[in-house]
Amino acid sequence: MKKNWLEWTVFGISLALIVAVAGLLVYQEITGGESPASLVADAGVPTETAGGYAVPIDVRNVGDTSAEDVQVEATLTWAGGMERGEALIPLVPYRSKRRAWIAFSHDPRGGEIRVRVLGYREP
């Protein structure tokens, strides 16, 4: 078989890539469970926007199943009032993180933010 160094390099990289991918899949198959989607939502640091304020919501899926159409709710309470907001994330794949933003008209920095996942679909 006559090949030049370029072709052997491409072959070597290709082989390494395939073996790595196959190895990872086997590892996933052996260790991966069948646990349902499991979502946690956390509020981040609020920022001021042109129309008011926005709070980033990080939704993490720590389960082995992806979740679609994930609806998250954030409630902002401060002394003397409260405000509620919702956001929809199309997809949070298994073992992954997605970010949504919920807008408020009241400054969230003076109040308390509570976040929770309202519901989602199985793909």
């Binding site: 078989m1 006559k2 090949k3 030049n4 370029l6 072709e7 491409v10 072959f11 990289i13 290709s14 082989l15 890539l17 395939i18 991918v21 196959a22 990872l24 899949l25 086997v26 996933q28 198959e29 991966g32 992806s66 997809l91 794949p93 298994y94 073992r95 992954s96 993180k97 793909p123």
Partner: protein, 279 residues
């Protein structure tokens, strides 16, 4: 990838081959990469299924390289090395395109990246393989004489390759499921009949490029035999791709057969084209 000279290729020749491969990979699989349903396949297809897809694609590439290369004396070791190269290029190309399109980035998890890259990369690899051998402008005495691959296994390998290339582009779309569930038995039968008619016409009655080598097989039996093989290859490839994308899950057997028939239109067309055009 196939060699055009026994003395071993120069660097420029290798680069040209990779160029053709990359061109073929793009040409045959870009519609697939730009399909939204496919992006979600990256995280819904299970690892076991991805492994099965990887293995099946490798076998398909080996079959293609064994029968449709530019060289006569393709030895097993060379076929295996070439197939590994094409698969690797396909995966790397797929990862690159997906990154460029913003489908994978630093926030993607590793299983997500691997799943998405594989789902697209497997089909890119088939495009790379076909592009390398078919898109060459070189002609001359090292070119295979037409009609050399007349054995059953070679015809099936080429038919499957063509079927996968054409059927994969529409397989993951919602349209196939909608058509399959709404067409009803009569229209589905008509679709199946059209597949058979299309295959017979392309292979035997249209003077399509490459169809001359089937002239010796004429006669009613030859036509029926060749048409049946082509249509069957189209249906089998369609079924395999639908299974890979999880299109058989949660549906009854009747609907699954209906999906195969609908996708089989594209599959049979590809199978016939593969048998005629690939050399």
């Amino acid at each position: 990838m196939s060699r055009s000279r026994r003395s071993g290729p120069t660097l420029a020749e290798s680069l040209r081959e990779y160029g053709r491969g990359i061109g073929g990979g793009f040409l045959f699989s870009l519609p697939l990469i730009l399909t939204m349903e496919l992006w979600s396949a990256g995280w819904t297809v299970s690892p076991l299924r991805l492994l099965a897809g990887l293995a099946a694609t490798f076998v398909l590439l080996c079959g293609y390289n064994a029968y449709a290369g530019l060289r006569h004396d393709t030895r097993l070791a060379e076929i295996l090395v070439d197939s590994v190269e094409e698969l690797g290029i396909g995966l790397a190309l797929s990862a690159g395109i997906l990154w460029m399109l913003g489908r994978i980035d630093a926030s993607s998890s590793l299983p997500e990246v691997v799943g998405l890259t594989l789902v697209e990369g497997l089909f890119v690899a088939v495009g790379v393989s076909v592009g390398t051998a078919q898109l060459t402008g070189a002609t001359g005495d090292h070119r295979q004489p037409e009609g050399r691959h007349q054995t059953l296994s070679s015809e099936i390998a080429l038919a499957l390759c063509g079927a996968v290339l054409v059927a994969a582009n529409v397989a993951p779309t919602e349209e196939i499921l909608i058509l399959a569930s709404e067409m009803g038995p009569r229209l589905l039968l008509a679709a199946l009949a059209s597949s058979l008619l299309l295959a017979a016409t392309l292979l035997y009655f249209s003077n399509f490029r490459g169809s001359a080598r089937f002239a010796g097989n004429r006669g009613l039996f030859g036509v029926v035999y060749g048409t049946a093989i082509t249509c069957a290859a189209g249906l089998v490839a369609s079924a395999a791709i639908l299974w890979f994308f999880g299109r058989f899950d949660d549906h009854g057997p009747t609907l699954n057969v209906a999906q195969c028939v609908v996708l089989g239109l594209a599959g049979t067309l590809g199978a016939a084209a593969g048998r005629l055009l690939f050399r």
